[in-house]
């Protein structure tokens, strides 16, 4: 049989990122999403009580879905034009535990 070059066989140390998230990773992702929702709610309530409005908070409410409104598809995957079926795991996004990535192009 001929040697079939594949990246794990070809090089020594190679980090392989699993293609999907595990159940605890997904649970932690939901927890982080809810945490961000909570921060925005607190800020918004405090501003309202003091009679202020802020563009960034209003824009967040207008554009971003809450954790409970999001589809599982959007919680754990994101759009990528180079992937088959146009989706890849959200853990492929650099710094994915510390950035907000909630919306994807409509229709994908």
């Amino acid at each position: 049989m001929m040697f079939k070059p594949s990246s794990p066989l070809f090089s020594g140390l190679l980090w392989k990122i699993p293609w999907r998230l595990s159940a605890p990773q997904k649970a932690r992702q939901r927890k982080r999403l809810r945490g961000v929702d909570r921060v925005v709610d607190t800020v918004s309530a405090a501003l309202e009580r003091n009679g202020y409005t802020t563009k960034s908070v209003e824009r967040w409410y207008k554009e971003m879905p809450r954790e409970e409104e999001m589809l599982p598809k959007d919680k754990y995957t994101l759009f990528d034009k180079k992937e088959k079926k146009y989706r890849k795991g959200i853990h492929k996004l650099p710094k994915w535990t510390r950035v907000s990535q909630r919306v994807n192009p409509p229709g994908f």
């Binding site: 982080r32 945490g35 961000v36 921060v39 925005v40 607190t42 800020v43 309530a45 405090a46 501003l47 009580r49 003091n50 202020y52 409005t53 802020t54 563009k55 960034s56 908070v57 967040w60 710094k95 535990t97 510390r98 950035v99 907000s100």
Partner: protein, 95 residues
């Protein structure tokens, strides 16, 4: 009545863009678990929104001192010092 944001840095900004570091610096958050108080205002709210993934926020009535924040985290010592009834009575009378 004015209130304050109590902001605690839960996640570090290591590896995040320079701007994110600068926002944390502007808020006075230098290391993880650091707590700062800022009056509720649109500009502070804007700063919090920039780093909302990294912080925890509460609305509080007054600024706590650094020592008060520290004491909240101090565990119960597990003992109490008994006093003589005379000393205790004098203390309660003074208070």
């Amino acid at each position: 009545m004015s209130s304050y944001f109590r902001i605690t840095l839960m996640r570090s900004a290591i590896g995040l863009p320079r701007r994110t570091h600068d926002v944390l610096k502007a808020l006075g958050l230098k290391k993880r678990m650091a707590t700062v108080f800022h009056p509720v205002s649109p500009s502070v709210a804007g700063n919090i929104m920039k780093v909302k993934e990294l912080v925890e926020v509460q609305e509080v009535d007054r600024r706590l001192t650094k020592q008060e924040v520290h004491l909240e985290r101090k565990p119960d010592p597990g003992y109490y010092v008994e006093k003589r009834s005379g000393t205790e009575m004098r203390e309660s009378r003074r208070a």
